[in-house]
């Protein structure tokens, strides 16, 4: 069965601190996709990144970076030098392989960045 676990319910940091959001997934499949979404206080869901199971390269986009490790079934998200605008709920999701359209979302991690 497909499952995504985000064990950190809520994290609070002070601006400029680095923070890592954990995502652990379960699947018996060798082909799958992983995603991160951001939900700011305004409520919309914003797509951040997609990674397929065959690409274990880490990715960096500005202050955001993602570490994909198949050996530990983890796809962690790090924000460097956090800012108040990073305050949001972050969701990790898994899809595939028989139905790539069906996303399994984690329960989300609420990040509070204080000035």
């Amino acid at each position: 069965a497909q499952k995504v676990t985000q064990a950190q319910t809520e994290i609070s940091v002070v601006e400029k601190e680095d923070v890592t959001l954990d995502c652990v997934y379960e699947t018996r499949d060798t082909t799958y996709y992983l995603f991160w979404y951001k939900q700011p206080p305004s409520g919309e869901l914003v797509f951040l990144i997609r990674r397929n199971s065959f690409d274990e390269q880490n990715e960096i986009s500005g202050r955001y970076s993602w570490n994909f490790q198949k050996s530990t079934s983890s796809f962690n998200f790090t924000i460097t030098a956090s800012q108040v605008v990073d305050s949001a709920v972050y969701f990790c999701a898994l899809s595939g392989p028989y139905n790539f359209n069906k996303f399994y979302f984690g329960s989300g991690t609420k990040l509070n960045v204080k000035p």
């Binding site: 082909t31 939900q39 409520g43 797509f47 595939g96 139905n99 790539f100 069906k102 996303f103 989300g108």
Partner: protein, 115 residues
């Protein structure tokens, strides 16, 4: 330009009423979805249509009926509303069912409150 739009943004209604939420996407995608986000922020897929054909139908009460008049629109009709239907409903769209570039883009959400 809004990519995925939903109307209305807020919906307050009495128990027992029937209501509809509309969704439109201008991304040229061929697959659309409805999700329910409960008060604990948990996101769960309800339905998905690909080119007007139902491809995902999760365990949802049959009071919920999706309708897709064309691939750019997916509406959600809810009969005999119950208190437990209170939630935020998100529409989303994606391109293709093969798995490639299948990230989903979400609408702003419709907050439904049943009194």
């Amino acid at each position: 330009d809004t990519a995925v739009s939903q109307t209305p943004k807020y919906l307050v209604t009495q128990m027992g009423n029937d209501k509809s939420i509309k969704c439109e996407q201008n991304l040229g995608h061929d697959t659309m979805y409805w999700y329910k986000q409960d008060s604990k922020k948990f996101l769960k897929i309800m339905f998905s249509y690909n080119n007007k054909e139902l491809i995902i139908n999760e365990t949802v009460p049959n009071r919920f009926s999706p309708k897709s008049p064309d691939k750019a629109h997916l509406n959600l009709h809810i009969n005999s509303l119950e208190l437990g239907d209170s939630a935020v409903y998100f529409c989303a769209s994606s391109n293709g069912i093969s798995g490639s570039y299948n990230e989903q883009f979400f609408g702003p959400g419709t907050r439904l409150t049943v009194l």
